[in-house]
């Protein structure tokens, strides 16, 4: 059973690629519409130095934006979740802000900071910030009423309740949000690089598509997807390591 579960994602991925290859060949889809995976991989090999350089750039820009999102998201989530007043004050603002398409704020960021790295970092930050705040705040705000009663009757200080119960309780929510947030951060970076960048995967793909090198565009997409999956897996492992207790037993608290 275990080996089947471990094998399944690989088989599904390979299956998708085979299906894609077969469909393209069967219907003779032109390469500038949808290149086959083999053509995309061939392009990846051919342009590897350029891809590697830009992928590395996109990766670290994403990680800086994501790190900022973790720091500020955790802090704001804790403040928001710990106080009902702050929660109700800030929540509508957060939802409103999250509803703004990030592609619309890139030009503003470019006006403020110029074309380049900083708008990309900030776009990655703004897009991955929201799920972290919401999850941490939810984890804090959903303390069982009975436990709240026990703590209140003991005369526990707010800070003790927060540190000994609230924060550990919200950690599973926090780590769960990191998995989503890190993949969103890549989206943010690539948006910014595409709209207003002079480096990175977004820039590379824009350049490639304007010269109709569509296989190279798809090679770029595959590399971005691979980085997203890789970081997702990293945070699954981090989650297991730090909040393993949340995955056992289950029904109690």
């Amino acid at each position: 059973m275990i080996s089947k579960i471990k094998l399944a994602p690989w088989l599904a991925t390979i299956g998708l690629f085979v299906f894609w290859e077969v469909v393209c060949r069967l219907f003779s889809v032109p390469e500038f519409i949808l290149p086959t995976p083999s053509a995309s991989i061939a392009a990846m090999i051919e342009y590897w130095p350029a891809i590697w350089q830009n992928a590395f750039y996109t990766f670290w820009v994403t990680m800086v934006g994501f790190a900022l999102a973790v720091i500020f998201g955790l802090a704001l989530g804790l403040v928001t979740g710990a106080s009902a007043v702050v929660y109700s004050a800030i929540y509508p603002l957060l939802v409103g802000f999250n509803s703004i398409p990030k592609v619309a704020i890139v030009p503003v960021l470019v006006v403020w900071f110029g074309i380049g790295t900083i708008p990309a970092i900030l776009t990655a930050f703004t897009i991955s910030f929201f799920p972290i705040v919401v999850n941490v705040a939810t984890g804090l705000a959903t303390l069982e009423p009975e436990l709240k009663d026990v703590l209140r009757s003991l005369g526990a200080r707010k800070i003790d309740i927060l540190l000994k119960v609230g924060v550990p309780r919200s950690m599973p929510y926090f780590f769960a949000s990191l998995k989503v947030a890190v993949t969103l951060a890549f989206v943010g970076t690539v948006i910014s690089e595409t709209v207003a960048g002079n480096a990175g995967m977004g820039h590379l793909m824009l350049t490639a598509s304007s010269s109709f090198r569509v296989p190279l565009v798809f090679a770029g997409l595959l590399v971005i997807a691979a980085m997203g999956v890789g970081m997702y897996v990293v945070f699954v492992l981090v989650e297991r390591r730090f909040v393993g207790w949340a995955f056992r037993g289950g029904d109690n608290g």
Binding site: E146, D149, S153, D160, P168, W245
Partner: protein
Amino acid sequence: MTAFVELEQVTMTYGGPGIDTVPAVADASLTIKQGEFVAMVGPSGCGKSSLLKIVSGLMPADKGITRVAGEPVTRPLTMVGMAFQNATLLPWRTTLENVLLPLEVSRTHRGSFRRKKAEHLETARALLKTVGLEGYEDHAPYELSGGMQQRASLCRALIHAPDLLLLDEPFAALDAFTREELWGVLQDLWMQRKFTVILVTHDLREAVYLADRVYVVSKRPGRIVYERPIPLARPRTLESTFDQDFVDLVHKLRDHIGEVRAS
């Protein structure tokens, strides 16, 4: 034996008077002596949990007088220990750490806990041993059965040696055998320490087994409609629950509950 918990004509409406038209508790009066074990039975939603919240100071009453240990109740009382149907143990803490939580955070105990940590650890281990959890100190809650979690929850309620123990259907979620086992555990703890207990329960046999006195609460708005002393000898045993006087007491209570539900 003096009055330890006193309620006189206490009324409480959620959200304050006038917002919710039917009060949760209305004109409830009762007197509980120090060291007495009292059970409270009544239809669900009748205000039993609300009564416990008033006694513990977690909810203020709108009307009437609430006194505990001779003092009017104006804020949450630290001399109270509480346990519920749901054990609410913290899943990231071991059993022992869960039991110690009240000492770590309590306004009145945290200083002494830091100064005499070893002593308090010993107390907690001894308490866990009394309820039959020796050897499980370092286990996580998910490794304990429902009954064992409830034992740990009782220990957490008692670790700071409260004068008043408030139990809100603590055994309701357990199977019959485990539940009856825990009656014995609770009776032993109480006979050793003689704290005052208010136990809310749906189980009339549980009420008769454990209590010195049983109150029957009416449908919402909750008021005390019947009071029955249980003069059976202690310690009570599971065999004694088949004695005629035990069975008669259960029947008498059942009749009153029937009347309350029908009214």
